[in-house]
Amino acid sequence: MSTGWKAVAIAAVLSAGVLALSDGLGEARAEYGDVVMNNYSDAAGMRPAVFPHWFHRVRFRCKVCHSDLGFKFKAGGNEINMLKIIDGQFCGACHNGSVAWSVENCDLCHSAKPGTPTQVHESTINLLGGAEAGPAGAAATSPGGGRASATGKK
């Protein structure tokens, strides 16, 4: 297709000064949509947890988790911990030995490099570079709609 409009449009959007995007192909990167959760893990001496969207969406539609099970669209925003998981909430709705393998497989979930912050890997917000973009920060507080900033919660 003609990309003429794209060049003009990109220039227009960029005049807002927020965008530094690349397709990221060929760079070292984790899989698109991988979520790292590290609200508590570092402090507890566990590796941060990794949730791979690509793996789960082969098996489940988004609605199963984000509507039926109540996961909010926000990396780190569900404040998941082991008590809730063992109680059958969040990951524990499936990782209970019946829908999927159970909680004793600590290292399958806790698999990130120590110190990796809470984030969605390869998200536009991360690519936007400066997490200091003010309005994006404000968005993170909108109900269910916003998302964590590049650094997320620690």
Partner: protein
Amino acid sequence: MVLIAEAPIAAETVRRWLPLAQDGLHDPANPALRLLQEPSVALSRLPSDRVGNQVNWVAALEGGHINPRTNILPESRVRMIDLDILLNLRGGTPIVRFPHRQHTLWLDCSNCHEHLFKSKAGANKFSMERILKGEQCGVCHGAVSFPLTACERCHNTPRNKPPPAAAVRGS
């Protein structure tokens, strides 16, 4: 400061996925790493795309390559709607034809209505800048669904042709 890489890549390029141990995210020292599935094993079998997971997830679902479950709780409902809405009617870029059908194959109405979008054509004030900041369409596109670099998948309907039938005019 500003950098756009419009990758000059042909439609059929060789797709490569980094091994987990080298993806910069997983800890290679984790003994359980080898038990996890490598993205290349699962994703190379699915219809290709240039961006995101390098998988066209709509084609994967519609073509029967995957059959993700719609529920694990027996009482949960599956709701679908086939309704296209035309957005960005006044801008300079191609019109955005928002398809409900492809979205409700994956999502429930409550994932968008009413907290992200009012369910009334023309009732929402969209902005590309807010989308790029991860709001509106950008809540999913740019995080999990195909990323915002794929401009023409949203800006998908030429302006100089009469608008396609069976589509509601939004904003």
